[in-house]
């Protein structure tokens, strides 16, 4: 038995533009792969600075994804409820969550310094009780969360909007409190959206550069993540820079491919 379906009518213009679009995305990476010093790659990968930056990047991106999940899912719920608000506060909320996406990350880093730095609005109080955030691994996590959490919020909000919210009413009629509804119904029903958002968030956090170097600085093992190490190496040792970029690329691809089939909507 052979399944058959009507043949799609080809749209040559759409096909051509689509292929060009794909080429624009993929060819630069191909350039990176072709220029990679494959012969020395094995030796470059085990260098301490590479392993250290990789470990720090995986740690901080995981932590900032976790922080984004804890804070971002409730924020997405709030955002999805905002459709019942007045126009102005609703738009302000959406704009506030969108800003980190459009802001140059370096500006985001400066903004974080002005808030949480030693002389920052909150930072000066924190400094008095002995908490200094800039130049710490915690600062890297905050900078990554600032930049990456909006991806999660918007993915989860989209999932909330397409899920049947009346399941929450059914849960309430069965005696579930708002918190139980959130935990037992809302979160599981939107799990595919949450997973998709978490993957995007992790990938964005992994590639974060501007906000991190501005807010957290760059010190090996503490704040020097893979993208920063790669950028720095570009100045003195392009081969190492390319090797680091390849590690970044491989880790991102691995995460995206591994999770895609299991979780994302639209795939079996």
């Amino acid at each position: 038995m052979q399944a058959s379906r009507p043949r799609e009518r080809r749209q040559p213009v759409i096909l051509a533009l689509g292929v060009i679009g794909l080429a624009l995305l993929v060819l630069p990476l191909l350039g990176l792969i072709l220029r990679a010093p494959w012969g020395q790659l094995g030796e470059l990968f085990v260098r301490q600075e590479v392993l250290q930056a990789l470990g720090l990047s995986l740690l901080t991106a995981t932590l900032s994804t976790g922080l984004s999940l804890i804070l971002g899912i409730p924020l997405a719920v709030l955002l999805s409820h905002s459709v019942h608000w007045k126009v102005l506060p609703r738009r302000l909320l959406r704009a506030a969550i969108t800003i980190p996406l459009v802001l140059p990350p370096v500006v985001g880093g400066i903004a974080l310094l002005l808030l949480l730095g030693r002389r920052g609005i909150l930072g000066q109080w924190l400094t008095q009780v002995g908490i200094t955030i800039p130049f710490t691994t915690g600062a890297v996590v905050l900078a990554q969360t600032f930049v990456a959490m909006p991806f999660l919020v918007f993915a989860v909000e989209g999932a909330l909007r397409s899920a049947d919210r009346r399941s929450e009413l059914a849960a309430a009629s069965l005696g579930a409190s708002p918190w139980q509804i959130f935990r037992l119904v809302t979160v599981p029903l939107t799990a595919p959206g949450i997973a998709a958002g978490a993957v995007l968030c992790f990938a964005r956090a992994l590639g974060e550069f501007g906000a991190t170097i501005t807010f957290a600085g760059s010190f090996p093992g503490v704040t020097r993540t893979l993208p920063i190490a790669s950028y720095l190496a570009m100045n003195s040792d392009p081969d190492t820079a390319i090797a680091l970029a390849l590690v970044l690329l491989a880790v991102s691809l691995g995460v995206l491919l591994a999770l895609r089939d299991r979780w994302l909507p639209g795939t079996a």
Binding site: I110, G117, I213, T214, G217, S218, F219, A233, M234, S236
Partner: protein, 225 residues
């Protein structure tokens, strides 16, 4: 007769001076348009080696210029100006920094450039000369990033170029280091072999050598070689 466009790639630390000098050069040569682009010297050299159509390369570092010469794309670079390191502290010097020895105090927040970039390599030589074991909290990717940390008050001190302290204005104070005269950074300029407009490029380099240009350089903190 010079006319057309002169394309200049210059080190980021030259941004302010070259902007001024390009404008004056254009005023004196109505038919010439100077297009200047700035960045880290290594990145600029990479662009030139990759075939960017450029007339003049003004590097912050002789080794980087040498990589362009080695590629056969420039000959006879000439060191036009020099720059030295200075300690930058936030206005009012809240941490009471007096000299390089303070860079070894672990309780202070110290910003240096990474040794992969020229200002970091120079800072390392200077610290070695002074016999100071620095305790940096961050190794920045370029000199302006290090300076930003100081001007925002997040770092107590950084080692940057005199010209950067001048450019930062009142937010930052400079403290001289005696040993700095032994770690001088040379800025070579060269006309490129594949310059699209070699005549105008040469004319611009000649102008950079003039007394008028010299005053602009010195005002910005650069010294003569």
């Amino acid at each position: 007769m010079t006319s057309g466009t002169v394309t200049v790639l210059a080190a980021a630390s030259l941004t302010d001076v070259i902007d001024v000098l390009a404008e004056r050069f254009e005023d004196a040569n109505a038919d010439v348009d100077v297009v200047a682009s700035y960045g880290g010297s290594s990145a600029l050299a990479e662009q030139i080696v990759s075939g960017a159509p450029v007339d003049v390369f003004f590097s912050a570092n002789e080794a980087t210029m040498q990589s362009v010469v080695d590629a056969g794309l420039a000959a006879d670079p000439e060191v036009l100006v020099t720059n030295t390191l200075q300690i930058a502290v936030p206005a009012g010097n809240p941490a009471g920094i007096t000299g390089l020895a303070d860079f070894a105090r672990p309780e202070l927040t110290i910003a240096l450039c990474d040794t992969a970039v020229p200002c970091g390599a120079a800072a390392q030589s200077l610290l070695d000369l002074a016999g100071v074991q620095a305790q940096p909290d961050t190794l920045e990717e370029d000199v302006r990033a290090a300076l930003t940390k100081v001007s925002l008050g997040e770092a107590d001190a950084a080692l940057v170029y005199v010209t950067d302290v001048v450019a930062a204005g009142s937010a930052v104070e400079g403290i001289d280091v005696p040993e700095a005269q032994q770690v001088i950074n040379n800025y070579p300029v060269a006309l490129l072999a594949e310059a699209p407009n070699p005549d105008a490029g040469q004319a611009f380099i000649d102008y950079l050598r003039s007394d008028e240009a010299r005053q602009v350089f010195e005002h910005a903190g650069f010294a003569a070689p």
